[in-house]
């Protein structure tokens, strides 16, 4: 019964706020002649407001005794709520007598309004503290609180061996995912997780850690329940733990939930480091485009290409940068590349593989300054051609598979500042040519291909059942 009454609190609290503030608004308007009629309703509204506040206080007192909230905030909220209610009743009963103390009509009107000022202030205070109780203290002003909850920030950096498992890894995970409901401000299910001592105390349903059977520890088991399960933690609508975070929590429990050990001292330190790596590795999940967006390419110029079966396609729905492929236009020759030039501010990726282009095309590619990715496989380009594209300083990858490029051409690539990858399988490039390039540009990954898989006895060994 008590719990039921308590649960009505979130519903009831909004009534006195609305009613009393509306009464104040009516009184304020009634100061002006055209609205004077509104005054007749104010007295009744104060009565309703006072009754609603009394009900709120009663339900609030029941709620405070059942759920775990921050005691300091609860005290402020309780006292402010009670004072607000008392004040509302005082206004209701004593308003007329106070007003009659003043003789002048204009003063009377002002007094009527001024009586509401402390009431509104009290409502504001009670409401704000109540909000802090349910949504957390920084709810109103922390604009980035949503983001803060989403991404876990591990404060520790450096050698994983020296990190303390609890203080540097587990505690920050609990902080981002759990403290808002199981911390200093709230203790849902009578559970607090922000200090080692509290973690040991457990909650309403008993211990949360079971070092003998780590997998049945409540703190871990609940993370694994289906998202729809009402016992799943964190609740469905809250940001969830990344799988690596869950794995780390389990690793900590398997180690006996120590609060002082360093990772190097643990049995499973290798797998823990693996989880950490999974967590902290910068995840470049998307292909990178230049930061600044570009204007849409001229549609006539695009049509000029697409009508010749050339594939021209934006990298995504939300960008104007283009990827161009001549896969359907193998007959393309050097002079036809001029059609690309109107798109020079948009083209980042260009596939000219298996076309009839040669060195003449290279001269024109220089005019595509943003080019990041260029594929020239199975074409007639030569070393001279590669000399011409030196100025493509955004070029990151170059495919010259099955061309006549030699070490001389490969050496030219050292001038391409942004270059990271080169594929030169089936060319005349030699091993010494590659090592020469790598001496000056160790940051380029050169794939010369030519992979062979050795012939093994097992390649042809047919397993058969032994005769019995």
């Amino acid at each position: 019964m008590k719990e039921f009454v308590g649960r009505l609190h979130p519903l009831l609290v909004h009534l006195p706020i609305g009613i009393l503030l509306l009464a104040a608004a009516f009184e304020l308007l009634a100061y002006f002649k055209p609205y004077r009629k509104l005054r007749t309703g104010v007295r009744a509204m104060i009565l309703f407001g006072a009754v609603a506040s009394t009900l709120s206080v009663v339900s609030g007192l029941s709620l405070a005794s059942t759920a775990g909230y921050d005691e300091h905030l609860i005290e402020i909220h309780r006292n402010a709520g009670i004072i607000t209610t008392i004040f509302a009743w005082i206004v209701f009963f004593a308003r007329d007598s106070i007003i009659t103390l003043f003789k002048e009509k204009r003063k009377r009107r002002l007094v009527r309004i001024f009586l509401f000022i402390p009431l509104a202030a009290l409502i504001g205070l009670t409401g704000h503290v109540g909000g802090s109780l349910t949504h957390g203290e920084d709810y109103l002003f922390a604009s980035s609180s949503g983001e803060k909850l989403q991404s876990l920030q591990l404060t520790w950096k450096g050698d994983p061996d020296s990190a303390r498992l609890y203080a540097d890894i587990i505690a920050p995970i609990l902080d981002t995912r759990c403290y808002s409901c199981h911390g200093p401000t709230k203790q849902k299910g009578q559970l607090r997780l922000d200090q080692p001592g509290y973690i040991g105390d457990g909650g309403k349903h008993g211990d949360v850690i079971n070092t003998l059977q780590p997998d049945s520890s409540e703190i871990y088991r609940r993370l694994l329940l289906p998202l729809e399960d009402e016992h799943h933690m964190p609740p469905n609508e809250k940001p969830q733990l990344a799988s690596a975070e869950v794995a780390l929590i389990r690793a900590w429990l398997v180690e006996g939930a120590p609060f002082d050990k360093r990772i190097a001292d643990l049995h499973t330190s290798a797998s823990i480091k693996g989880f950490l790596q999974a967590l902290s590795a910068p995840s470049q999940r998307k292909r990178t485009l230049p930061d600044a967006e570009v204007a849409r390419a001229d549609s006539m110029s695009v049509t000029a290409l697409t009508s010749r079966s050339i594939v021209v396609i934006p990298f995504s729905d939300s960008t104007n940068y283009l990827s161009v492929s001549y896969i359907n236009a193998p007959a393309t020759t050097d002079d036809q590349l001029s059609l690309l030039m109107p798109l020079k501010n948009q083209v980042l990726s260009l596939d000219l593989g298996r076309t009839s282009i040669g060195d003449g095309a290279m001269q024109q590619l220089v005019n595509l300054p943003l080019l990041q990715q260029l594929s020239l496989h199975h074409t007639r380009i030569s070393d001279d051609g590669l000399k011409k594209i030196r100025t493509l300083n955004q070029l990151q990858s170059l495919n010259i598979v099955s061309t006549d490029i030699t070490d001389t051409g490969l050496a030219e690539l050292q001038h391409l500042k942004a270059l990271k990858k080169v594929w030169c399988f089936n060319t005349r490039v030699t091993r010494s040519g590659v090592s020469k390039l790598l001496l000056v540009r160790p940051d380029i990954a050169v794939d010369t291909g030519g992979y062979v898989l050795p012939v093994r006895v097992t390649d042809t060994l047919e397993y058969k059942a032994e005769k019995k």
Binding site: S243, V246, A281, R285, L289, S318, S325, K421, Y451, A465
Partner: protein, 487 residues
């Protein structure tokens, strides 16, 4: 005026056929038809080719996918999931705690535990455990990412295969390849966007639905090619019909179809027109791309291919040729991995070793060949079965069986991915000491599907198709891209 014209076109038969879909569809069809007629009176709008290349939601890391499916479900315990503890339990009775509340396809009563029937070693910088059944694949351990804790909820082949490829164990949903060609179209105008190749003597238990287009327009369904004989049946012209006459025939048919489309606006008419055009172009392009005779000898040695024979190796080489030509999604099914222990061929210590031999060199060669051609960066290779196999020895009907086999296992199995923006040499997920349940990194098949779509630049929750009154998606109502294996 226009509306009444449009109404006259709805015959009784048309009305009835439309009613099957629902009167709402009729109403919508009419509305859509009307507005079009109003805006462009008298103009026959050229139907748009549904396979034209399109942009994804965000810039993707991969442009193509090769999916290698080992139909029948390979045993993770003899290939990737090394469980020394299980060896110690070999031949002991299975503890009841593992059997309580469980249903198996064939295991009855209390089975015995079956230790790993292969020797494992660590390989590469990443130290991944791979069994001696895969000596070639072991050399590229650092190229791939392993998922050790994949789980499913289907323990029979057909529904489980449907789940892998359509996101639902029941018939009727589009397959991954269909979703992807629907989302991205295809770059090569002369080849289908979605090609299927099978080996091992049988097609998957779930039939052609695993590459079907479900409720998506049927232009997006997978085109099955044969690696022996004519690659596509009935593609070559009959005797006496030359290419010119063929062209004229198709032009005439498409003219009629175009009028039909203009009247009824049925997307399936567009599909039919696109298919005629595609078939005409494929007559030239397919025999060329499907011919591996012209590949140099060192490539045949790398893959272990024998031209003219239907094999997984030939299909791997074809897969490389197809993605090289801009095919968006290539699906390989290899049959014969269902090692129950009923015969030598279906056992984990004999038949499985032979199956491993047929894929080991070929799939390794595929990854390496894509790599040396600069294709692996933008080609996602996925390998897996429809479920895993039990750490217990199968005891069909409660009896001990003549050969070592394992039953279907849904809770944990291994998949790997490579290329297309996937981490190199990573492992995600770990199973318990006997490989029964995942203890970390548990992922669902919807997670795997979400990851594939993510690599192509799709938010799996937004790639949807409106059908029967609501939007559908590949991952149904769950799934999350597996961040831990994305580079």
């Amino acid at each position: 005026m226009m509306i009444s014209d449009e109404l006259k076109r709805i015959s009784r038969r048309h009305f009835l056929s439309e009613s099957a879909v629902g009167l709402g569809a009729v109403a919508f069809g009419l509305l859509a038809g009307c507005s079009d007629v109003k805006s462009k009176p008298g103009i026959v709008t050229a139907p748009v080719d549904p396979m034209l290349p399109k942009s994804p939601h965000f810039p993707g890391r991969a442009k193509r996918v090769i999916y290698l499916h080992m139909a029948g479900a390979p045993s993770q315990l003899e290939m990737f999931d090394y469980k020394p503890e299980l060896m110690k339990l070999h031949n002991q009775l299975c503890p009841p705690s593992l059997l309580e509340g469980k249903r198996f396809a064939f295991i009855r009563g209390v089975p015995k535990m079956l230790g790993p029937q292969a020797v494992f070693k660590q390989h590469g910088q990443s130290g991944a455990y791979i069994s001696e059944n895969l000596p070639h694949f072991s050399t590229i351990a650092d190229e791939v990412s392993f998922l050790k804790g994949v789980h499913t909820d289907q323990f029979n082949h057909a529904p489980a295969q449907l789940f892998v490829h359509t996101g639902s164990p029941r018939l009727g949903r589009p397959s991954i390849g269909s979703w992807i060609t629907y989302g991205l179209g295809t770059e090569n105008a002369n080849l289908p966007g979605f090609v299927v190749l099978t080996s091992g003597g049988k097609t998957p238990d779930a039939g052609k639905s695993v590459w079907g287009s479900g409720f998506l327009p049927s232009v997006y369904q997978g085109v099955q090619c044969r690696s022996e004989g004519d690659p596509v049946l009935f593609l070559s012209d009959p005797q006496g019909l030359d290419r010119n006459l063929k062209r004229q025939t198709i032009d005439a048919i498409n003219e009629v179809n175009s009028q039909h489309f203009d009247e009824f606006r049925d997307p399936e008419t567009l599909t039919r027109m696109a298919q005629y055009e595609m078939a005409y172009r494929m007559q030239m392009s397919v025999p060329e791309v499907m011919n591996i005779n012209n590949e140099p000898e060192y490539i045949h040695q790398l893959y272990g291919t024998t031209p003219g024979k239907a094999s997984f190796a030939n299909n791997c080489l074809l897969a490389r040729k197809l993605v090289e030509q801009g095919v968006r999604f290539v699906q390989l099914f290899d049959w014969g991995w269902d090692a129950h222990g009923t015969s030598p061929a279906e056992s984990v210590d004999i038949g499985l070793k032979n199956k491993c031999r047929t894929i080991d060199r070929a799939m390794t060669a595929l990854v390496l060949d894509l790599k040396q051609r600069g294709l692996l960066d933008e080609t996602l290779v996925v390998w897996g079965g429809e479920f895993g196999r039990t750490p217990m020895q199968e005891n069909r009907e409660g009896k001990e069986m003549a050969f070592h086999g394992r039953d279907h296992h849904t809770d944990a199995f291994t998949m790997w991915m490579a290329g297309g923006g996937i981490k190199q040499g990573a492992t995600w997920g770990e199973t318990d000491e006997i490989g029964y349940y995942p203890v970390s990194g548990k992922v669902s098949l919807h997670d795997v599907q979400a990851t594939i779509l993510n690599q192509l630049g799709f938010d799996h929750e937004k790639l949807t198709y409106h059908f029967q009154g609501r939007p559908f998606r590949l991952t149904d109502v769950s799934g999350q891209a597996i961040r831990e294996i994305i580079a």
